[in-house]
C-alpha cells in the first residue's frame, strides 16, 4: 500500500475546496504525491502540502456563506421557535428562569459582600508600609495577643530601629477618653476623638484638606478635625483653620485650636473618628512612662522599600531590652490585614473574619453550582423531547451547524434572561441585604464582578446547550424519525449524580443552619454567663460622688446602682503581681483585675459561692473577691478571710464568686480578682432598672446626671445590647446562612420538580398501560417516586456524616458550646425528604390520575 499523503493538508483541502472540483483535484494531487513518493519519499509530504497551498486560490475556494439572505431569517426563526417552546412549556421555562436567576442574584450579593470585606482599610496609600505593633503576653493560662502596647514603645521604636520611619501611639476613639463633646460658642456636638502622636498623619496618609501633615501638632492643644465636623461647626474647611473649639470629656477638657482638616473617612475604614487630638496632651493627664503598663496602640510606618519580614525578629525581642524577665513579645501585622485576620492563637495569626469570608465564598460557589446544575439537568432532559424536531429539520435540509447554533442560542437566551431577572432581584433585595449585613453595598460597586457574573451565566447557558446541541444534531435523520434515539445510561447517571449533589449540599446547609442558630441562641440568651445583663444600663461619669449615686438610688425605677469597670465580654486589664501564702516563686499566673464599687455584684446578679459582696458595713476598703478559677489557681483550701497582696497592697478575701464569663465565649474563664474601688476609681456606673419602667427611669436618671454635670451629654448604653454587639458577626452569619440554606433547598427542589414533571410526562403511555392493566394510583406514584426517593435518601446519607464533622469542628472553637443532639440531624433529613416528596408527589399524583384512555389515544 502506498504511503498516505499528510492528513492535515488533505483535511484543509477538503475544507476549502469547492465540492465539484474536489474529487478531481484531490485525485490528481494524490497521484502526483505517489509519483513524488517513488522518487523522493522524504520530500513527498512537503511537496503535497505545497501543492495544496497552491490550490488555495479564489477559483477553487468554496462559498462559505451558502445563502447570505438566510442568516438573519434563520436567527429570527430560531428565536421564534425558542419563544414558542417557552410558551408551550411554561412551567419548565419558569422553573429554569427562577432557579438560575435567584441563584445568580444570591451569588452576586455574596460576592459583593466579600468584595466589600476584602476592601476594608485597603484604601490608604502605601498601605504595605503601615504596620500595627501587637503584644503577645504569656501567662500560665495561655498566650494572648492584645493591641495595647507599653506607653513608651512607639518613641523607642522610632529612635532605635532605623528601618522604622515613623512610629506613633494612638489612644483610639473607642476608649472612654475618646468620647466627648465639642463646643463652639453655643454649638454642641458629640464626637469621637482619638489621641495620636504628632506624626499620625505621616503614618496614616489620610488626605488632608487643610494643613500640612508635618506641622499639624506643633502645640499641645492642636486638633485636626474631619471635613464633616468642619462643615458642621465652621461652614467650610477653609474657615475652620485656626479656630478654637472646646473639648470636654469626663477626664480631659480644654480648648483646642484647629490646625488641620482631613477628608471624611470612607465607610471601608475600621477606625472611625471625628477628630484627632494631640497625644502629648493626653500624657499630661495619663503619663505613660512605665514599660510594664500597656495602654496605647502603636503603629509604625516602615522606610520606603523596606520589607517587613527581616524586621519581625528585631521587633519581637524588643521588649527584652526594656523590661527584665519580660513575658511579652511584640509582633508586626500589616494594618490593613487586621480587619480580616484578627484572631490569634499562640501569638500567631489564626484567622478571624476571613473565615466568614471563605465560608460565604464556599456557600456562593455551592449555590451557583446547584443553580447551574439545575439548569443543565432540565435543559438536557427537555432536549430529548426535541428529537423529532431535529429529525424533521434534518430532512428538510438543516445542516448540523445550524442545529447546533439553534440549541446553543436557545439555552444562552434563557441564561441571559435569567441574568436580567437576577439583576432585577439584586436591585430589589439590596436594601434588605444591606440591613442584614450592616453594609452599604451598591450594584455598581464592582462592574468587573457584574461582567464576571454575566460570563458565568453565559458559560452555564453554553454548557447546558452544548449537550443537546451536539448530541441531538449528531443523529441520523432516519434513526431520529423512527424514534430509535435513547438517552444513554451514562446520561441518566450523571443526572442522578447531580441531584444527589444538590440535595447533599442542601442537607448540609440545613444542618449547619440549625447548629449555628442553636449556638448563637445559646450565646445570646447568656444563661451560662453567670451574670444578668437584662435591664442594666451603664454610663461613664467623672468622679461620681456619693451624693450623686445616692440621688440615683432614690429614683423609684432604679433597683440598684454599682460602680466599676466590669463590662460585657471585655477584659480590661490584669496583673501577675499577686502574692498569697504558699505561692511558688516562679508562678507567673496572670489575673484579670476589675475595680468594683459597692453594689455592682448585686446589680449584675453575680452569684456568690462563699462570703459576701463588697459592703460598707465591712469597714476596711481593702477587700478583694476572687472567682472560683482564681481560688483553684492559687490552690487555697479555705480562701475566706485570708489576706493576699495585690500589686503590693494587702487585701482581705471577703468572698468568692461563681465563674462568670467576662470574656468572649471563645475563651475559657480565666482567674480574676475583684477589687473594691473607691468611687472615683471606677468612673463607670451600672444601674439596674425595673422592667417596664425603662423610659421614665432613664429620663429621670438623665435629669439627675445633667444637674450634676452641666454641659455634658448623658450617654448611656444597655448592657444587653452591648453584649449582642459582641457577637454581631456571628448573628449576621446565622441570619444570612438561614436565607442561603432556604434558597439552596428551594433551587434544588425546583430542579427536582422540573425533572419529576419531565419524567411523568415521558412515561404517560406507560402509566396509561399500567392503569388499564389494573395498577392503582398509589402503585403508579410508588413507581414514579421510587427513583427520586432513592437518590435523595442517598444524598442525605452522604451529607449527614460530613455535616456532623463540620458542626463539631465549628462548635469546638467556642469554649462554651451546645452539645450536638440527634434531632439536629434527623430534622433536616426528614425535612429534605418531605420537601422532595411533596415536590415530586404533586406532579406524580397528577400524572397518575390521568384518564388512561386519553393518554393512550394520542
Amino acid at each position: 500500500m502506498a504511503k498516505q499523503p499528510p492528513k492535515n493538508a488533505l483535511r484543509f483541502l477538503r475544507w476549502f475546496c469547492r465540492e465539484d472540483y474536489l474529487e478531481e483535484i484531490e485525485g490528481d494531487l494524490i497521484e502526483l504525491f505517489e509519483q513524488e513518493y517513488e522518487r523522493a519519499p522524504r520530500r513527498a509530504n512537503w511537496y503535497f502540502v505545497r501543492q495544496v497551498l497552491w490550490h488555495f486560490r479564489p477559483d477553487f475556494i468554496r462559498s462559505f456563506n451558502r445563502n447570505p439572505n438566510l442568516q438573519g431569517a434563520m436567527l429570527r426563526h430560531n428565536l421564534l421557535i425558542s419563544w414558542r417552546g417557552f410558551m408551550r412549556h411554561k412551567s419548565s421555562f419558569f422553573i429554569n428562569l427562577t432557579g438560575l436567576s435567584t441563584g445568580l442574584a444570591c451569588v452576586f450579593l455574596i460576592c459583593l459582600w466579600v468584595y466589600d470585606e476584602i476592601r476594608i482599610d485597603k484604601f490608604l496609600e502605601h498601605d504595605e508600609q503601615i504596620y500595627q505593633v501587637l503584644q503577645t503576653v504569656d501567662s500560665p493560662t495561655g498566650r494572648e495577643t492584645i493591641e495595647a502596647t507599653p506607653g513608651p514603645l512607639a518613641g523607642a521604636l522610632e529612635d532605635e530601629i532605623p528601618e522604622i520611619q515613623f512610629a506613633v501611639s494612638v489612644i483610639p476613639a473607642t476608649f472612654n477618653v475618646g468620647k466627648g463633646v465639642i463646643a463652639v460658642e453655643d454649638n454642641r456636638l458629640k464626637a469621637a476623638g482619638q489621641y495620636a502622636s504628632p506624626d499620625f498623619f505621616r503614618v496614616f496618609p489620610y488626605p488632608l484638606l487643610q494643613g500640612n501633615s508635618e506641622e499639624l501638632f506643633t502645640q499641645k492643644n492642636h486638633v485636626v478635625i474631619s471635613e464633616a465636623l468642619a462643615v458642621n461647626l465652621f461652614q467650610n474647611p477653609e474657615n475652620a483653620l485656626g479656630k478654637t473649639l472646646d473639648w470636654q470629656t469626663e477626664s480631659i477638657s480644654g480648648s483646642c485650636v484647629v490646625s488641620g482638616v482631613f477628608a471624611d473617612l470612607p465607610a471601608t475604614a475600621t477606625d472611625q473618628f471625628d477628630l484627632v487630638l494631640n497625644y502629648d496632651w493626653y500624657l499630661e493627664y495619663f503619663p505613660q512612662e512605665n514599660w510594664a503598663n500597656s495602654s496605647p496602640r502603636s503603629f509604625v510606618r516602615l522606610q520606603e522599600n523596606v520589607p517587613a519580614d527581616p524586621l519581625r525578629s528585631k521587633v519581637s525581642a524588643f521588649l527584652d531590652s526594656k523590661i527584665e524577665d519580660s513575658n511579652a513579645t511584640l509582633s508586626l501585622q500589616r494594618y490593613s490585614d487586621r480587619y480580616l485576620y484578627n484572631r490569634y492563637e499562640n501569638g500567631q495569626v489564626a484567622g478571624g473574619r476571613i473565615e466568614y469570608v471563605r465560608l460565604f465564598l464556599i456557600i456562593a460557589l455551592f449555590i451557583l453550582v446547584i443553580a447551574c446544575v439545575n439548569f443543565m439537568n432540565l435543559s438536557t432532559a427537555k432536549a430529548s423531547t426535541k428529537v423529532k424536531e431535529v429529525g424533521v429539520k434534518k430532512v428538510v435540509g438543516a445542516g448540523r451547524g445550524q442545529l447546533v447554533l439553534q440549541y446553543l442560542s436557545e439555552s444562552m437566551l434563557v441564561a441571559f434572561l435569567s441574568f436580567l431577572v437576577a439583576l432585577l432581584l439584586i436591585v430589589l433585595f439590596i436594601p434588605q441585604f444591606n440591613k442584614l449585613t450592616g453594609k452599604a453595598l451598591q450594584l455598581g460597586l464592582a462592574p468587573g464582578l457584574l461582567l464576571g457574573l454575566l460570563g458565568i451565566t453565559l458559560l452555564t447557558g453554553l454548557l447546558a446547550g452544548t449537550y443537546p446541541a451536539f448530541f441531538l444534531s449528531g443523529h441520523r435523520a432516519v434513526a431520529v424519525l423512527k424514534g430509535r434515539v435513547r438517552a444513554s445510561v451514562g446520561e441518566l447517571w450523571v443526572r442522578k449524580g447531580l441531584i444527589l449533589f444538590q440535595f447533599a449540599i442542601s442537607t448540609l446547609l440545613i444542618v449547619s443552619v440549625i447548629v449555628v442558630y442553636r449556638q448563637i441562641d445559646f450565646i445570646q440568651s447568656g444563661t451560662q454567663l453567670g451574670y444578668n445583663r437584662d435591664h442594666v444600663i451603664y454610663f461613664d461619669v467623672e468622679q461620681p460622688g456619693a451624693s450623686f449615686t445616692d440621688d440615683l438610688k432614690r429614683i423609684p425605677g432604679v433597683t440598684s446602682v454599682g460602680g466599676g469597670n466590669l463590662k460585657a465580654g471585655k477584659q480590661l486589664g490584669g496583673t501577675n503581681a499577686i502574692d498569697w501564702e504558699g505561692k511558688s516563686p516562679d508562678n507567673q499566673t496572670f489575673f484579670s483585675t476589675f475595680w468594683l464599687g459597692y453594689g455592682l455584684l448585686e446589680t449584675l446578679d453575680i452569684q456568690m459561692v462563699d462570703g459576701q459582696p463588697f459592703s460598707e458595713s465591712f469597714g476596711s476598703p481593702d477587700q478583694v473577691i476572687l472567682n472560683e478559677e482564681a481560688v483553684r489557681q492559687m490552690g487555697l483550701k479555705e480562701p475566706m478571710n485570708k489576706r493576699i497582696l495585690v500589686n503590693g497592697d494587702e487585701r482581705q478575701i471577703v468572698g468568692v464568686v461563681e465563674d462568670f464569663h467576662f470574656e468572649s465565649f471563645y475563651e475559657t474563664v480565666k482567674p480574676c480578682v475583684l477589687l473594691l474601688a473607691p468611687l472615683e476609681y471606677a468612673p463607670r456606673l451600672s444601674l439596674k432598672i425595673q422592667a417596664g419602667l425603662e423610659q421614665e427611669t432613664i429620663a429621670q436618671v438623665r435629669s439627675v446626671y445633667e444637674a450634676y454635670y452641666p454641659g455634658l451629654v448623658f450617654d448611656f448604653k444597655f448592657m444587653d445590647e452591648d453584649y449582642q454587639q459582641l457577637y454581631i458577626s456571628e448573628r449576621r452569619v446565622a441570619v444570612l446562612s438561614r436565607y442561603f440554606a432556604a434558597l439552596a433547598i428551594i433551587i434544588s427542589c425546583l430542579g427536582l420538580l422540573g425533572l419529576a414533571m419531565f419524567a411523568a410526562d415521558r412515561r404517560r403511555k406507560e402509566i396509561g398501560i399500567r392503569k388499564v392493566l389494573g395498577a392503582s394510583v398509589f402503585g403508579v406514584i410508588k413507581i414514579l417516586t421510587g427513583d427520586f426517593t432513592k437518590v435523595v435518601a442517598l444524598a442525605i446519607v452522604v451529607a449527614l456524616p460530613i455535616s456532623y464533622w463540620l458542626a463539631a469542628n465549628w462548635l469546638n472553637r467556642f469554649h462554651l458550646h451546645i452539645d450536638l443532639e440527634w434531632w439536629y440531624f434527623l430534622l433536616p433529613a426528614i425535612l429534605v425528604m418531605t420537601i422532595a416528596w411533596l415536590t415530586i408527589g404533586l406532579q406524580t399524583l397528577r400524572a397518575a390520575r390521568v384518564d388512561p384512555v386519553r393518554c393512550l389515544k394520542e
Binding site: E26, D28, Q51, D59
Partner: protein
C-alpha cells in the same frame, strides 16, 4: 460567432487536451507539458486553465471509473469541444498567416 479569447498557457493546455484526445486529465496534461516545454509546471496552474476553458466552453469533461490508484478518486477526463477546436484553428491560422508575411530575413 466569435470564439472566446485564449491565453498563452491556456492554448498550450488546450493543445495537449486535443493531442491526448479523450485520455487527457490533470496529471497527464502536466506531464506532457513538462516534457514539451522542458520546465516544471504547477498542477494548480493546469487546473485553473482547465476550469476557465470549461467555463468558456472550449473543453468538456467526464469522470472516469474508480480504480485503486489515486486513493480511489476518479480521474476527470477532458475532451476538446467544437468551439475549442475552432479556437485552436483560428489561433493557428492567425499565426501562420502572420508568419508568412515575414519577409525573408537571414542573420549572418
Amino acid at each position: 460567432m466569435k470564439p472566446p479569447s485564449l491565453g498563452e498557457f491556456e492554448e498550450l493546455v488546450l493543445l495537449t487536451v486535443a493531442a491526448q484526445h479523450d485520455e487527457a486529465y490533470g496529471v497527464s496534461i502536466k506531464d506532457a507539458l513538462e516534457e514539451h516545454l522542458d520546465k516544471k509546471i504547477n498542477i494548480s496552474a493546469v487546473h485553473v486553465a482547465l476550469k476557465r476553458m470549461k467555463e468558456k466552453g472550449l473543453v468538456e469533461s467526464r469522470f472516469g471509473g474508480i480504480t485503486n490508484d489515486r486513493g480511489g478518486r476518479r480521474k476527470k477526463y477532458y475532451v476538446i469541444t467544437f468551439m475549442g477546436k475552432r479556437a485552436l484553428d483560428r489561433q493557428y491560422e492567425l499565426r501562420t498567416s502572420m508568419y508568412q508575411k515575414i519577409p525573408k530575413i537571414t542573420f549572418g
